[in-house]
Structures are given as structure tokens and as C-alpha cells.
Symmetry: C2
Subunit: 441 residues, 2 copies
């Protein structure tokens, strides 16, 4: 969803290397960087974590490009960040809530850690109608990325996980941080103890489950970021059946589900999912809340550990201990989004981005390229068979001044693809489309 | 800071017991509660975690009391939650920010995970003047409790920790969750592998460091919740010296520091602290932001692990992977709090609560009780030598219809104390004072 920002201070390159023994004294003597080291050992899990160079590297190349072409108008179709104003009805609702905090009647202190009851009810009714999800199974969060980490704290270090390849990096990174993985294998770029489920054109972006090893946890994102593929009902039925057979728990990320036109928008539309699946989701791409920060997680009561203990009880404990509820102002905005008029208004922004996606899909398709995603997702996944994604990134940037995202940043299976975001002002999308047509045709 | 809410569904009591082997089939056969169990083992760390019954138990007793005395006007001096409206200037700033999100010029998507640059600068200037703390060392959060858990993810399971006894339960609970502790010892109520630093009247609420075992991490809260004791400069110098000698890292919780009239408000006022201390803090009790959710954490560049690697680099990675920044609306409010007029206004609320504290201190003192805290903190810690804190809780509730907090909920050293909060409307504080005077005199 987001970049890894680099800090403004200059870190000592040598200190980034795993230098186990004399590094402190070396640092003190040679570099004058530090005059004293604590005796606390660096967390070995963080030592395993590879520096995610994707977005910082894109920034570096963008800056270099701007230096080379100071007059070029660079268009970013890179980071998937919403660009359109949030609807008045939603903004006003937050504004009124904030103003009321200055009054004796309107002031509110701590809310429930699990979220405002009205909002939980509205989420259950809006997104989980007829699936049997209850208000009490909805936990309001400050965004799905944050809850993915809280879910990792819930599971602990002794579980095994599977992820789609390619996928949003937070699943793997949080897994490494919590200690579920081994070291990274340099050649494959893959961590030990993680099952990578390859998803590409040859398997219709759905893993071959007959060849997929059992894991405790299966992270599954639909529509997928970056491929934009929304799994069909049949595919999700297979996934639920697979989890059930293996006794696995699916963590289903539906952050982009509102972009789905045809097909299930929640894992709970699949019979039996309540026993095997947690769902994380977000207002970020529904309502342009990337900066406002609001999301939710559903943990059904029927989901239990091998000893029969309900997962929801432990998740509730994590939420109470490690979180203290989403901002009440953001929650007021979320509630407004789910009112009848509010939802129409946010849907209209979603439709706008979907039109952008259509323009981009048509552009690439008209150029003879194979394009995936874009119809049920705000991401377009463009295939350049036989090419390297960084080369394509460079070539597109050089010739069109457009920033994209090299697919390999999301996993080895992305190496022949670039991801193009449909989040953007229409005039930029149209201009990008023109530039691409003249460059690639 | 907050209660552990109980879920609205009724959990099966038997499932709460650690039943390792046949619990799933038992649950299926005997109870009809679940028809299927996954094969995922419950996180053993969560199994160790004791149910924190403190606030739920208080609620149960409150409800029972209300049933018994339906006409009584119960006054809560229990949970430490702010009650006074936030200043207009702060509320309006949030309202205006929210409204501007509906305009093309004012809309903002993702912000920096580390927080808005202006806010970081204002935090550094307001709270860390002359201590050498730089903007880039400040990480804006959604509250100190959340960052305590992120710090535990940073440290991982292989560190040892020390906590004050009594103390706010989140340090210990997050330590158990991340796997730093052994089991709880039933008799002492203490977890193995945690060093409990006793803080009471006989040591002026500061641990005897000559008898304190070395740990990697030392959680230290000043002013302390629940005792209200603000450590003196001399005490903090000893603490920094102790950490330095042992190569430990102090996690200094200064969430209540704005209540300090005399003495250091930040650990960084102590020379050398930059090399040994992280500071977590919050707008909750500064500005009544308990529901708005905003805090910060400072990680100095000079703080390095035993191998010379800067802690700030790893914390930055945690913030980028496990968090995505505090709500931009809340951050706009935070910035307004730190403007010249804004800070005057929030200080006036702090002064109001401090006057409440003075009223409570005078009340208990005039009754011949020994009272601690209250002068540099919004909590008053009342000593009932030889009594049990739950008995005192019951007696006060029965006779005065006032809810307090039994000190034993914060650790064994609190067993003869009750905590009384100074957060409340003045008329309630005054009425509580009268009731206490007539009951206890």
C-alpha cells in the first residue's frame, strides 16, 4: 500500500551489514559514529528482514530522471494512493464530530477498543449482509496493514504461512518480524518456511492447490495487489475447501473488494468460510481514507484453534492490549461513508477510479499487450513476456516520463510485469494514456 | 490507561482453561459449541497471559452495586479517562482539516508513516527543547499503548525486561504476548523472567537499583501510573547511570509528564540518556485526546544495539511495516495543541485536573490518610496500611457510591492502596470529596 520512507539522517553503510562481533568497538574507534553501545542484542528477526528497496529505489530513479529532464512533466502511476477529494457528506461528518469534542455534550474520551458499536453494525450490514457476520465479530482498526501485524502477534512465531506470489509485501515482512520464517535464500529471493503460491496467467492467477503444501495460515488478497485479479466464486470455494481439509486459517485481505463488479466481495460469501477465515479490510480505497486511517477485521466466533479455543477471544485481547481503538473522528467519517447518501458518494469515487482503470486497460490492450486486473481492481498488471520488469520500468520512464512499479518488487512471479495504478486525476490518466500510445505503438 | 472490554457474546468457560489434548472433540461432542476445529495451535504466549480481571471486575461490582442501590448517584473515580471538552482552537483545527479533505486543494492521501514533519518539529520544540532531540528522532503514533507493543515487536522474544511494581499493565501483558516471559507463578502473581522493581513509600517510589538485576529493557513510567510519583532528577540520574552500566535500554513512558510541576518531564533532560533511552508519550492526557488517538515515540540516533546497529533504523522499519501513520485529522489537532494559543488552552485543562487532584489530596490528607501522587500527576494513591485494596474498594463503594481502583490490580505492591483519578467534572470531584469526608472521618 505504501512506501518505506528512508530516514533523513545518513546511516553508516558498514553498520547495516551483519557484523556480529566487534562492530561496536569498530564503530566507536573507526567511525566516531557512536561512543557507546548498549548490551542489548539486535532482534535476529529484524536482521533477517531484507531492506525493501522497491519504493525507495523507485524514488531514487525518479529523482535521477528529474535531474536529467528538469522540464519533463512526470506522471506517477506508481504508489497506489487515492487522489480524489472525499465526499462532502463524509468530510462534514468528521468536521462536525471534531467540533462537538469542544462541547460538554459532545466530548468523548476513550471509546471501545473494538470500535464504535454503530460503525460495527453499519460495516456488518453494508459489507456482510446475508453472510451471518455479526457486529460483535467486527473489530474496527486504523487500517488493514496495522491489523495484519496484530494478527501476526496473535498467531506468534510457531505457525507456518503461505502467501500469493506476487503479493503486497506486508504479509511476508510481518511474518519475518514475528519470527515465523528462516533466512532468505539469496538466489530465489524467498524466505525459508514460507510457502509461495505462484499466481500468474498460466493458472488464471489462482494457485494450484493440489501442489500447495499445508500451512497454518494462508494470506490471500482478492482483488490481489498487485495483479488486480479478483478470485471467482469457484476459486474461493476451492480455497475454503483446501483450508478446511488442512485445518488452516485463511487471512483474507479484501481491501480492494469494493472494486469488484462481478464475483464475491467477501470470503464469507463462501459457505463454510466462517470456520476457517479471518477477513481484513479497509476504508482507504473505499473512501479515500489512506491518510484518515480506518479499517476493520472480522473474526467469526466459529473459528477455533486446534484445542477448541475461539480465535476471537485472543484477538480481542490483542486489540485491547496492543491497540486502543481507531480515532473517533475517523470513525465518525466511516459511519458517514456507510449512510445511504454517503455510500452513493464514495461509490462514485470508486467508479471514477474504475473508469481510469478502463482507460489504462484499453490503452495497453490496443497496443497489443496482455493486461490483467483493472476490471475488478484499481490496478492494471501489464505483461511484457521475456522482459525484466526493472528494464520496462526504465524504458517507460525514459520515453514517457511515467512512473510505474516493477512487478518483481512484489515477488519473483512479478518479474515480467509492471503494475500501473488507476488512482489519479483523470487528466493525468488521459495524458499518460496518450504518451504510452505514442511510445509503445 | 484503559479497560479490557468483555465481548458481548458468552464465551464457554471451559474453553478458557488450558485443555491441551481432546478439547476440540470435547467441545464438538459435549457442548455443541463448535462443529469443527482448525489444526492451528493456539499461541502459547497468549495461553500464558492471565485474564486481566481488574476493570471488568470493577464493572461487575459496579453493576451489582447499582442493582442494590438503584437510586444512588454513583461517581466514578476509576478509569483514568479525560472528561473536559478539548479547546475550541484544537477542535476547529481538526474540523477545518477534515473539511479541506473534500476539496481538490486540501485532499491528502498517505502521509509519512513517521508523522507529519511540522508536527514532529513542534513536538521536538515543545517537549524536548535544549535536550538535543531532533525532529527526525520523533515518530508520531496513535497513542503510547500502541507504540509499547510496537516496541515489543522491535525487541522480540529474546530480551529480558524489568517493570515497576505497581505499574500500568500493558508493559507486562505485551511482554507476555511477544514471548519474553515464562509462566506466571500463582502464589506471587508474577511472571517468570520479569524483574519487578518494587516502588512504594519505603523507597520513595524508586527501586533500590543496587539490588535490581540487570535486564535488557527497563520500562519506567514517570509520573507513574498508578502511584502518581514523578521521579526526581537525582532518581532519574541514577536510572540512566544504572542503564548505562548494564548496557540496558530504558523505555521511558512520559504520558503524564505535562502534569509535573517540579522535576524533569523527559528522560532526555538527564545527560547521557540519548544513549540509553527511548521515550513514549501521548496527547491523551495532555489534550484530552484519549478518543482522538495521538502520541509519539522518540528514538535517539545514538541508541545502538550491542553490534553498533542503530535502534532507530529498526524502529523505523517496524513503523513502516506494522503501522501506517496516525490519522491526519488527529495530527492536525496535535499541531494546533502545540501552537502558542493551543498550548495555553490545553494547559488550562491540565491545570483544572491538577486542581481536582489537589482537592482529592486535601480530602484524604485531612482524614489522616497517607496520600501519594496528585501533585505532579492526575492520580492520587491512597495508603490503607494493613488493609486489602479490594476490601477498601468495596467499603468505599458501599458507603459512598464512589468507584475507585484497587491498587492490587497494578501489581502486588499495590495491595494496600487504592488509586483515585483526578479526571472528572469539578462538581463530581467536590461531591466525592464531601462523601469521603463524611464516611471516613
Amino acid at each position: 500500500m505504501h512506501t518505506f520512507s528512508t530516514l533523513s539522517f545518513t546511516p553508516c553503510k558498514t553498520l547495516f551489514q551483519p557484523m556480529a562481533r566487534f562492530c561496536c568497538s569498530m564503530a566507536v574507534e573507526e567511525k566516531g559514529l557512536v561512543s557507546y553501545c548498549t548490551k542489548v542484542e539486535r532482534n535476529a528477526n529484524l536482521e533477517k528482514l531484507q531492506y525493501n528497496y522497491l519504493f525507495p529505489e523507485i524514488s531514487v530513479r525518479e529523482l535521477r530522471h528529474i535531474k536529467k529532464y528538469p522540464n519533463a512533466k512526470v506522471i506517477s502511476l506508481g504508489i497506489g494512493d487515492t487522489t480524489e477529494p472525499i465526499p462532502d457528506i463524509v468530510a462534514l461528518s468528521m468536521a462536525n464530530y471534531a467540533k462537538s469534542l469542544a462541547t460538554p455534550q459532545g466530548y468523548k474520551g476513550y471509546g471501545a477498543e473494538q470500535g464504535n458499536q454503530e460503525l460495527k453494525k453499519a460495516i456488518a450490514e453494508t459489507f456482510y449482509k446475508d453472510t451471518g457476520i455479526k457486529d460483535s465479530e467486527v473489530f474496527v482498526s486504523d487500517g488493514s496493514q496495522c491489523d495484519i501485524s496484530r494478527l501476526q502477534m496473535l498467531f506468534g512465531s510457531n505457525v507456518s504461512i503461505a502467501v500469493q506470489d506476487p503479493s503486497f509485501p506486508a504479509y511476508i515482512d510481518s511474518s519475518v518480524i514475528i519470527g515465523q520464517t528462516g533466512d532468505i535464500e539469496k538466489e530465489s529471493g524467498r524466505y525459508q518456511n514460507i510457502v509461495y503460491m505462484e499466481c500468474g496467467p498460466r493458472n488464471n492467477f489462482f494457485p494450484d492447490l493440489s501442489k500447495t503444501a499445508r500451512t497454518d495460515i494462508i494470506f490471500f488478497c482478492s482483488p490481489n495487489n498487485p495483479t488486480g485479479h479478483a478470485s471467482s466464486r469457484k476459486q474461493l470455494e476451492q480455497l475454503v475447501e483446501f483450508a478446511k481439509r488442512n485445518g488452516s486459517i485463511i487471512v483474507y485481505d479484501s481491501a480492494y473488494a469494493v472494486y469488484i463488479t462481478d464475483g464475491p466481495r467477501s470470503i464469507y460469501e463462501i459457505p463454510g468460510a466462517r470456520k476457517v477465515a479471518i477477513e481484513v479490510s479497509s476504508f482507504s480505497k473505499v473512501a479515500g481514507f489512506t491518510g484518515v486511517r480506518l479499517g476493520w477485521t472480522v473474526v467469526p466466533e466459529e473459528l477455533v484453534y486446534s484445542n477448541g479455543f475461539p480465535v476471537i477471544n485472543d484477538f480481542n485481547r490483542i486489540v485491547c492490549t496492543c491497540f486502543n481503538g481507531a480515532s473517533n473522528v475517523a470513525q465518525a467519517g466511516g459511519l458517514a461513508c456507510l449512510s445511504s447518501d454517503g455510500f452513493k458518494a464514495v461509490r462514485s469515487n470508486v467508479d471514477y477510479y474504475k473508469e481510469n482503470a478502463e482507460i489504462l486497460v484499453n490503452t495497453f490492450t490496443s497496443l497489443g499487450l496482455r493486461v490483467y486486473g483493472g476490471t475488478n481492481a484499481p490496478y492494471v498488471w501489464v505483461h511484457f513476456p521475456g522482459s525484466d520488469s526493472w528494464d520496462m520500468f526504465n524504458e517507460i520512464l525514459e520515453k514517457t516520463h511515467i512512473i510505474t512499479v516493477p512487478g518483481s518488487g512484489f515477488g519473483p512471479e512479478g518479474r515480467e510485469f509492471i503494475r500501473v495504478t488507476a488512482f489519479g486525476h483523470r487528466e493525468n490518466i488521459l495524458e499518460a494514456s496518450e504518451r504510452l500510445r505514442s511510445f509503445l505503438s
